[in-house]
């Protein structure tokens, strides 16, 4: 398939403590660029639109697992600047439905070694994620998830309120409004540094000779006889044999360019951080009944998220009413945060499907593939999604993506995760 000789592999500094020490003595002048800044070529074997985590990971595994390196990743802004750079970085795989558990657990297990694989510290921190049960209904839901996980090979456990308190002493477990009745605990869930995930993948892609082209907006998709042949961009036409659309909140737009429609709504999801304080919370806590979740970043900020705005829109601005609702819930759950201060709030446009599960699929346009619909919870999926998407694009089939086809909406074969999670992330 290669049509043009791929770019030479780029020479890059290898990162290690020794490299840092070496550079320290020459004023850090020897570090090479983390990724190139190439002009687009006329044609690539594969073009990926969108240099978020999912697009970059797709490109990476195309190269690493399938030897396809004549690849361009086109990004309209700066790489990692979409939801990948705005999320609250919770990583877990304690999903209920089999296809979800499969792809999220694949992702989680790849995260375990990602820093070494990418030679870039993505700071995956498997500190444990707990999802609180605060109603009888939630207890039953999480017990069900625990049973499903046991058969899916995902290590989770339903734990008692006493254990919850032990793992997270700053939590008020006795209510008064919604006492904690237990929790679903995934000890190897956790967080990672979101920017580093995008940067690490970008750097490796660039090293493999792929072109990451920033400030390059795709404005049209070109096809011939029902097959994709290339894209139109703000930096000219570029041809390709295969096209991967991985643009999250803008999926509806780009699908429109490619001539098909998607069952997706775009809404703003809000998040906020407090000022940094010394370590006081070693786990990630999600409280779905009251709508809020919290963890502490390595910098010391309490990272807080809640729900999505109640209306569709494309502005990446934070509104306030959800912040209010979320903070209210968390002050009740963690009374000690009352005298902390909110430092910053923001929003990201998330692409939400009817069943709250992603789409990784072929499309009505031949050789055009789509990866979207990760909505409020796709950061955790990046490595698994990239792995499966690359396999799908390279070979036409991946067990990881099989259930996430577009056809499921017309067939009614939903993968509904709202069953287990009121708030998703």
């Amino acid at each position: 398939m290669p049509s043009e000789i791929p770019r030479m592999k780029r020479e890059m500094s290898r990162y290690s403590v020794f490299a840092v020490a070496r550079e320290a003595f020459r004023d850090h002048q020897g570090w090479t660029r983390a990724w190139g800044s190439p002009e687009p070529k006329r044609k690539y074997d594969v073009i990926i639109i969108g240099a978020g985590g999912h697009g970059l990971a797709t490109a990476y595994y195309l190269g690493k697992n399938h030897g396809i390196r004549n690849v361009a990743v086109l990004e309209k802004g700066w790489l990692g600047g979409g939801n990948t750079g705005r999320n609250t970085t919770i990583i877990r795989s304690n999903y209920l439905q089999d296809p979800s558990a499969a792809i999220y657990e694949k992702a989680r297990s790849l995260y375990e070694d990602l820093s070494q694989d990418l030679n870039y510290n993505v700071m995956f921190s498997p500190r444990g994620v707990m999802m609180l049960a605060q109603t009888e209904h939630e207890i039953r839901g999480y017990k069900r998830t625990a049973h499903a996980n046991a058969l899916q090979g995902v290590a989770t456990e339903f734990i008692s309120p006493a254990r919850v308190k032990q793992l997270c002493p700053i939590m008020e477990i006795r209510g008064p409004r919604y006492p904690v009745l237990g929790a679903l605990w995934q000890p190897r869930g956790g967080t990672a540094r979101h920017d580093a995930v995008a940067w690490g993948y970008a750097r490796k892609c660039s090293e493999m000779g792929m072109d990451i082209i920033q400030k390059c907006e795709v404005t049209g998709v070109r096809s011939q006889g029902g097959k994709v042949v290339g894209v139109t961009t703000s930096r000219g036409d570029i041809d390709c044999d295969k096209l991967g659309v991985v643009v999250a909140g803008h999926s509806g737009h780009v699908a429109d360019m490619a001539g098909f429609r998607l069952p997706i709504e775009s809404v703003a999801l809000q998040a906020l951080v407090s000022e940094p304080i010394k370590p006081c919370m070693d786990v990630v806590v999600m409280a779905n009944t009251v709508h809020g979740y919290m963890s502490q970043s390595d910098k010391g900020e309490m990272v807080i998220g809640g729900g999505t705005d109640g209306y569709n829109n494309y502005t990446q601005r934070g509104s306030f009413h959800h912040i209010e609702e979320t903070v209210r819930a968390l002050v009740e759950t963690f009374p000690m945060i009352s005298r902390l201060k909110m430092l910053r709030q923001w929003g990201g446009i998330v692409d939400v499907t009817g069943d709250r599960s992603p789409i990784l699929s072929k499309t009505p346009l031949e050789n055009c593939f789509i990866n979207c619909g990760w909505g409020t919870g796709g950061f955790k999926a990046i490595p698994g999604s990239g792995w499966g998407m690359a396999e799908l694009m390279a070979t036409g089939y991946s067990p990881l993506t099989e259930a996430f086809g577009l056809d499921r909406f017309s067939e009614g074969r939903f993968i509904d995760e709202s069953v287990a999670a009121g708030v998703a992330h």
Partner: protein
């Protein structure tokens, strides 16, 4: 060293000394001091340690832009970390403690990081700590976390309370400097409803310190008169200590009022969050001075020139005895003049090649040494400023000459505070002659009508001279009022003499061609320890977008959100990329302008007021009689009534048996009750429900199902036909609001021309289920309407009297017993309940809770929304085909249920499950099949949906969904436990109690 001057101090009252402690040491200040001015007054220059390198740091600023002086304040229940000393007003007994050091402020082990700083450049952690893998979580991360963070974590519940205010105004003016005062005055005179807010405790902003003259009088006098005039206007409200925190779509703004931080009083709310709807918002938020980037610019004693001026003028505090003012503009001379007047020594280093403006001349005339074309090569000293090495600004810093000094005042030019303008999408343009970004009026935040709803005024709009500020603010205020609908005219604008000044010279590196060694000691972001060389490294490594640089270096990400560092950092980045500054652009400004307490955001909604409990009229009785509460939606329902000496399980068992054997009572008031009424109501009901509801005769009840558009069962309940055009729909407890909204959504968006009204009357009625073999007897004993089998057969309802209560009686059953559900007006609920208890005592009447309800329905094989359904289940899966009308052309979910997957014969279907050993099946367990799927997961063929111990049958009972289940009666399949073992269970009929319905139909 800093010290208190003998005279002066606009804000302090020397007759009111105040005592406080800093790191446990007793100190003194005056009423009117900030913690920062009081510390400086006591000679305390070292106030904290930086985030990354733990460098010793002093106070830099005098307002909310302060990056260094962050304190732990108070203790226990009033402890607050990361409080800015510069915005903390002093009171007697204040306890402050510096942060981020161990064991002490003066001697901090973490300072080792500073020694190692060459090994810790921007982004070092991305390149290190890679091996061995497990070390990140167990070794490296804990160390990094420990050394990061700033203040201590609070450990207690907050003793204070908070509240919210809502306000609707024509014009919100943010900022109480002369621009804000003038804008508010103009808007108020024009007749607009105005709210003017100021974050600090004082009005007037910088002008009184800067020596402005307005309308012929000193600025302070003009300010006083104007505040008084505004106070007298009935349409104007003014609030000090109230900060504009955020601007959102549609003129929504947040303000944050600090009521008691300066004078603790537990009876008052500590903070108040104002939620404001404004027609127009005028941002008169002023400007912030920029530091200069020279080596050693982070030593304690290096401050903003404007801050030095503030401390001297407002608090009579001298930051040092020998002050070096280093400037690139005329404003720096104001500081020089102020400190000289206070009797301190001062030298001015002006980076410009000449300085002949009126202020410079005035300084020279006052005998101040002015050295032009000079910059600072470096500032040196041990933990404080001791020596300033002066060099030629245009060169590389070689051959510097030293000056002895203990304070350096940096005047790097001013940046308008554009945060609020930008929060909601306002764009900026670069102004070359001041080297700053200012609001671009062509690209303002727009309201729904496309018009700009934020107007910037004064320094915040890039106007830095008093006369221009006043004119600009006057225009903004008058325009805001007019656009918000005010029809009056503003009085005259205040005037000031035009001040002449010479152009400033942008200086991004000092000296211009500073060596790497110098640049690596020039700080941009003090709190996060970002240096000039860090930004350069980021650019070199390809982090070219300003957002990348910010994230890679953490520039501007500290608690001051880059108020001092952003422009300087941008300029360095632009230089490194060889681009123009405006092309590099700014990072995004996000609310809040300055951190606001979580307590204020939560407001009153805490404890009992956090999601107030919805209570039925019988709530108190339940509470007094052992209710073990279960939250359901916003309600609380008794799970069971636990008697002394009993546990919950025993209580549930007792309740079930008593009901089955004699008489039980259930408070069913929480069930949703929606009235659907109108000429088209029948048509509407047929669309909402799978059943045919339009033909239901008046007086009859029917069990109905509701599905989503996707065909999934979403709610169920009994529907009663009240009269020709009225239906009463019962929903599940949790479903009432959701279903009401669902109905409204369809009526408002799809069938807006149908004549139908829906009203949620859930709380208008108290409803009691009277259940058990003696149910009829107890009602007959109370007297009133005929409830006999003949008069009120199963699935009918009637209106009448039960005892002295007017009631609506539904003959329906969710337990399989003879049962009446009786609705009475909510106000009568408790009396009715009491009457039933009294009349029922001879039958051993037993109130029962939700768990007994669940068990009894499970024994009867009735499904429960949320147990048997989970959003993926269609009625057909549950054997409810009988409730789906085949005669109707359409209903919500009909088409969806015809899709391939929905008609797949292999769908899991409802069955009963019986363990072979009589044990209770685990909740949520899955039935396993053969082998694994392509993803290596164990194949499953069904799952448990409800599982209970049945007191009636004295063994476990369960329902579940199983592949081809109804065709596999009698087959034994394995269900998993979380520990990896399995339980064997037999597939049986879901109805295990009274399958013929003999008990309920009597």
């Amino acid at each position: 060293m800093s010290f208190r001057l003998d005279t002066g101090g606009r804000f302090i009252d020397r007759s009111k000394p105040r005592s406080f402690t800093f790191n446990g040491k007793a100190m003194r200040g005056f009423e009117g001091d900030t913690l920062a001015s009081a510390l400086l007054g006591q000679g305390q220059m070292l106030v904290g340690r930086s985030f990354k390198y733990h460098r010793p740091r002093g106070i830099v600023a005098s307002g909310s832009e302060e990056p260094n002086a962050l304190m732990n304040l108070g203790r226990d229940k009033t402890f607050e970390p990361n409080a800015r000393a510069t915005t903390t007003e002093l009171f007697d007994g204040l306890e402050a403690e510096s942060q981020n050091h161990w064991p002490s402020l003066e001697f901090d082990i973490g300072e080792l990081n500073a020694k190692l700083s060459r090994f810790l450049p921007a982004g070092f952690y991305y390149k290190m700590f890679l091996w061995p893998r497990s070390f990140w979580k167990h070794v490296y991360e804990p160390i990094i976390r420990k050394s990061a963070g700033l203040g201590r974590a609070p450990r207690h519940r907050d003793a204070d309370h908070y509240e919210h205010f809502n306000a609707t105004v024509d014009v919100l003016v943010v900022g109480g400097g002369i621009a804000g005062l003038q804008a508010a005055k103009a808007a108020g005179e024009a007749g607009a409803e105005v709210l003017l807010i100021e974050q600090g405790a004082h009005w007037g902003g910088r002008a009184p310190v800067d020596g402005a003259v307005i309308d012929g009088v000193p600025a302070a006098e003009w300010v006083e008169a104007t505040v008084a005039a505004l106070g007298a206007m009935p349409n104007v409200a003014i609030r000090a200590r109230t900060m504009g925190a955020g601007v959102y779509d549609h003129g929504y703004a947040l303000a944050y009022e600090r009521l008691t931080d300066h004078a603790p009083d537990p009876s008052l709310p500590r903070h108040r969050l104002w939620r404001i709807r404004a027609g127009r918002i005028v941002t008169a938020t002023g400007a912030i001075e920029r530091p200069l980037s020279f080596a050693g610019n982070d030593l304690p004693g290096v401050m903003l020139a404007s801050a030095v001026r503030d401390y001297v003028t407002n608090y009579a505090v001298a930051p040092g005895k020998c002050v070096v003012v280093v400037t690139n503009n005329d404003d720096g001379y104001r500081t020089a003049l102020t400190v000289q007047e206070a009797g301190l020594e001062v030298v001015v280093l002006d980076a410009r090649s000449e300085a002949n403006g009126p202020l410079a001349e005035q300084a020279r005339a006052a005998g101040i040494t002015v050295r032009v074309g000079r910059g600072i090569e470096s500032v040196k000293g041990k933990g404080k400023v001791e020596k300033v090495w002066v060099c030629d600004q245009t060169r590389d810093g070689s051959n510097p000459d030293p000056i002895k000094a203990d304070c350096v005042a940096m005047a790097g030019g001013w940046s308008p505070v554009v945060h609020l303008w930008s929060h909601c999408g306002g764009k900026l343009s670069w102004q070359e002659d001041g080297a700053f970004f200012r609001p671009d009026p062509e690209r303002a935040p727009n309201g729904a009508d496309g018009a700009a709803f934020v107007l910037a005024a004064g320094a915040a709009n890039g106007e830095l001279e008093t006369a221009a500020v006043l004119t600009d603010a006057y225009v903004a205020g008058a325009r805001a009022a007019a656009e918000a609908g005010a029809t009056g005219t503003a009085g005259a604008a205040a005037t000031a003499d035009v001040e002449l000044s010479e152009p400033m010279l942008p200086v991004w590196n000092m000296p211009e061609r500073a060596s790497y060694a110098l640049r690596s000691k020039a700080w941009l972001d003090y709190q996060n320890d970002v240096k000039v060389t860090d930004v350069e490294l980021a650019a070199r490594e390809g982090f070219e977008s300003v957002e990348h640089t910010k994230r890679y270096t953490t520039l501007g990400m500290a608690t001051d959100q880059g108020k001092l560092s952003n422009i300087n950092g941008l300029a360095v980045l632009a230089g490194a990329l060889d681009q123009e500054i405006p092309k590099v652009g700014t990072t995004t400004f996000r609310p809040p302008y300055h951190p606001i307490s979580m307590g204020a955001i939560a407001g009153e909604a805490r404890g009992a007021l956090f999601q107030p409990v919805r209570q039925t009229p019988m709530y108190d009785w339940h509470d007094a009689n052992g209710a073990h509460w279960e939250p359901v939606g916003h309600w609380r329902r008794p799970y069971a009534y636990v008697k002394p000496g009993e546990d919950v399980h025993a209580a549930v068992k007792r309740e079930v048996l008593a009901t089955r054997n004699s008489l039980g009572l259930l408070d069913a008031s929480t069930l949703g009750k929606l009235v659907v009424k109108g000429p088209d109501a029948g048509k509407f009901m047929d669309m909402m429900y799978t059943n045919m509801m339009s033909t239901l005769p008046v007086g009859k009840c029917r069990y109905g199902l509701m599905c989503s558009e996707n065909g999934f069962l979403s709610d169920d309940g009994v529907v009663a036909r009240m009269d020709d055009d009225t239906w009463l729909c019962h929903t599940t407890t949790g479903g009432a609001d959701r279903i009401h909204a669902h109905m409204e959504e369809w009526l408002q968006t799809e069938w807006w021309d149908w004549k139908v009204y829906v009203a949620n009357v859930t709380e208008q009625y108290a409803q009691v289920a009277v259940v058990g073999p003696n149910a009829r007897k107890v009602l007959e004993k109370l007297g009133g309407m005929d409830v006999s089998k003949e008069a009120l057969p199963f699935m009918q309802w009637a209106e009448g009297a039960i005892g002295q209560f007017s009631a609506r009686v539904f003959r329906i059953s969710f337990s399989g017993e003879l049962s009446y559900e009786i609705a009475v007006p909510a106000s009568q609920g408790r009396a009715f309940w009491d009457a039933l208890l009294e009349a029922g005592s001879e039958f051993g009447v037993t109130p029962y809770g939700t768990e007994a309800l669940h068990i009894m329905r499970a024994e009867k094989g009735f499904i429960m929304i949320g147990d048997e359904t989970d959003g993926t289940v269609i009625p057909q899966d549950l054997g409810l085909n009988w409730a789906i009308s085949k005669k109707k052309e359409d209903f919500l979910g009909k088409r969806a249920q015809e899709r391939d997957h929905m008609t797949d014969p292999l769908r899991w279907k409802l069955v009963g499950l019986e363990t072979l050993d009589g044990s209770v099946l685990p909740d949520g367990s899955y039935a396993v099949g053969e082998g694994v799927n392509d993803n290596g997961q164990r194949v499953v063929q069904g799952r448990v949906t409800s599982t209970y111990f049945s007191p009636t049958l004295e063994r476990g009972i369960a329902m579940g969904l199983v592949e081809l289940g109804p065709d596999r009666m009698g087959e034994v399949i394995a269900f998993n436990r979380v520990d990896g073992t399995f339980v064997q269970a037999k597939i049986v009929d879901p109805v295990v109690f009274d399958p013929e319905g003999e008990k309920q139909n009597v």
